[in-house]
Amino acid sequence: MADVRLKGVAKAFGDKQAVSGLDLAIADGEFVVLLGPTGAGKTTTLRLVAGLERPDTGSVHIAGRDVTRLEPSARDVAFVFQQYSLYPHLSVFDNLAFPLRSPARRMSEADIRRRVAEVARLVRIDHKLENRSTKLSGGEMQRVAIGRALVRKPSIFLMDEPLSSLDAKLRGELRLELKRIQRELGATVLYVTHDQIEAMTMADRIGILADGELVQIGTPRAIYTEPANLHVAARLGQPAINLLPRGLLPDADAPPGTATIGARTEHLAIDKAANGHADGVVDWIEHLGDQNHLHLIVGGRKLITLVDPDTPFGKGDKVTIHFRDPLFFDASGQRIGG
């Protein structure tokens, strides 16, 4: 395992600037997740590290070595693709053994066997080693793909939305497994996703990408509680943060320059209206099982928060709403204070 540094990396495809001026340092053994919408430059960043793309400017360093001009095969990285990129005519065993059989390694067949068995156990596919890779389910295929990355002990694991093509249940399971495996191996991982739950649960640090630029990078906690701007704030939180113009509600000591107030569930105190004063009205309660989404109408705007399943509110109830230490943003969308 090794550390990875990107210095001022930029890459354009024709007219489209995919990544611009990207600086990113990933420490040895760190799990960094790049989060952003489609087209933000996440995958391009990953491919730049892997060497599948060459940067227009800037440099890529792995373990202190400048690898900017090196071929993917010379960089000692492992890549898990979004698609199940298995070699379809090979068995699970041969897929896992494929990277080990590179002439660059000269590993004995017995060592290969041992290593494959080890990794197969780790990704829980050891019962299907003799199967053809095309005869597996989606989850199994992706576990093999992850396993194929793991067999090699590379400098860094690059994972491009490896769980996005799986169903929700499997995604949840593999999320935990991946994190477990990463901890066990002390692996350096650069992981790309647009799923905030994956980012929040797995990352040591999250990097938020927008339009090819790294907007903010920090621990999941920091990204969540201290977002740099509206874009970052809107990326995290479930339900999404409520962005309200200043003055819609009695604003609790908003600092000067505040244009927008961002309020998540924990930033709102909602009570049933007493003595005639009300800020809003309950529009709808969305039952999710373990909790509910409370939809409020406040001055013609919609506001969504989480409430307990045994919420006392009902449709049409008038409520008072108070901010509790919300997030303040200025007119340009940058967060104020903190």
């Binding site: 892997a50 599948l52 071929e71 993917p72 095969s73 990285v77 492992a78 890549f79 693709f81 698609q83 990129s85 070699y87 379809p88 005519h89 090979l90 494929f98 990277p99 590179s102 002439p103 660059a104 390694r105 053809r132 095309t134 194929r148 090699r152 929700a168 799923d195 905030q196 739950i197 479930q238 339900p239 999710l288």
Partner: protein, 332 residues
């Protein structure tokens, strides 16, 4: 939870009215929920009336001749003597063909042609496809140029190559003599016993390699880039990528090309007929030439019918076995 809120079914949400209106309009336009009779004819009857012309045509030009050929193959019928009594002679036509050394020779010649044309066309065709697939500058132009021979009529190609093979004025003999020093008058491609079979193999390869290339190219293009990228990251050399990805994944396509060319060349007639007519001697007499001679020169209609049936069964059987193998390869 992510799924519930993250992927809203936008389309059904925003355009239900449009969809509903379309459905309603469609419902109004169709009068009754489909009348079961039209002028006293049931739906099934109408359906039959519509497909009857095609079926009749098929029966007349495909099924009937086949059955008629089978019937004739058990007789001594001669088409040039329609007034002679036709005698039923059982299986003796078949027995004669299977024991006749001439027909066996023709079968062997055919097998050699099929084998060599397939080997050459597959090797060259796949290599060309592999090179074209590198997507170098101008690869589209080259693809078009390579495809030209395939687009010509076999009759044109046959006559064209007769001139090329001409020892006195032909370009082929001239070029060969330029490189080998053998005088062109000694390069008798079409009348030399050893060269004549190769002359036909060369023409067929020239004409049909593009076809094999096209199918192989489709196979190569069907291999997704990320498989190669994965192999690249996994440190597989180009050599290893070729043997463990390119070839196995393109194999079903290659096999398909071989099947098509195999069936085609099993009944190869036009090219041989134009170039050598089966000669010199009977060195290039493939089965279809023998068949033509028996049927339309010697007028042994019954005998040639039996021969046609044997050829048909052979091709059909081989093709079926081959398709089974092909399916097994594909399902891997």
């Amino acid at each position: 939870m992510q799924d519930l809120t993250g992927r809203r079914p936008v389309v059904t949400d925003t355009h239900p009215s449009l969809l509903d209106r379309t459905m309603e309009a469609a419902a109004r336009a169709t009068p009754e929920p489909l009348a079961t009779t039209v002028r006293g004819l049931s739906d099934r009857m109408v359906a039959w009336i519509f497909i009857a012309p095609t079926i009749l045509l098929l029966l007349a030009i495909n099924i009937f001749p086949l059955i008629w050929t089978i019937r004739l193959s058990f007789t001594n019928y001669r088409a040039n003597r329609p007034n002679e009594a036709v005698k039923d002679i059982g299986l003796s036509n078949y027995a004669r063909i299977l024991t006749d050394s001439d027909t066996w020779m023709a079968m062997q010649t055919t097998a050699h042609f099929v084998l060599w044309t397939i080997v050459l066309q597959t090797l060259i065709g796949f290599t060309l496809a592999y090179l074209i697939d590198r997507k170098f500058r101008g690869h589209a132009v080259w693809t078009t140029i390579i495809l030209v021979p395939m687009m010509l009529s076999p009759a044109v190609v046959g006559n064209f190559w007769r001139f090329l093979y001409e020892p006195q004025i032909g370009l082929f003999a001239y070029i060969v003599s330029f490189f080998t020093g053998i005088p062109p008058t000694e390069i008798l491609m079409l009348s030399n016993v050893t060269l004549a079979p190769w002359a036909i193999v060369i023409v067929d390869t020239w004409m049909w390699t593009p076809y094999v290339m096209l199918i192989c190219l489709a196979g190569l293009r069907s291999i997704p880039d990320y498989i190669y990228e994965a192999a690249e990251v996994d440190r597989a050399s180009n050599w290893r990528q070729f043997w463990s990805i390119t070839l196995p994944m393109a194999l079903p396509f290659i096999m398909l090309a071989v099947l098509f060319r195999g069936i085609e060349n099993f009944k190869m007639f036009d090219m041989v007929n134009l170039l050598t007519g089966g000669g010199p001697g009977s060195t290039t007499e493939v089965a279809s030439i023998t068949l033509k001679r028996e049927a339309f020169e010697k007028w042994r209609t019954g005998f040639s019918s039996a021969f046609a049936i044997i050829l048909f069964v052979a091709v059909f059987g081989l093709a079926n076995i081959y398709v089974k193998v092909l399916n097994r390869v594909k399902s891997r």
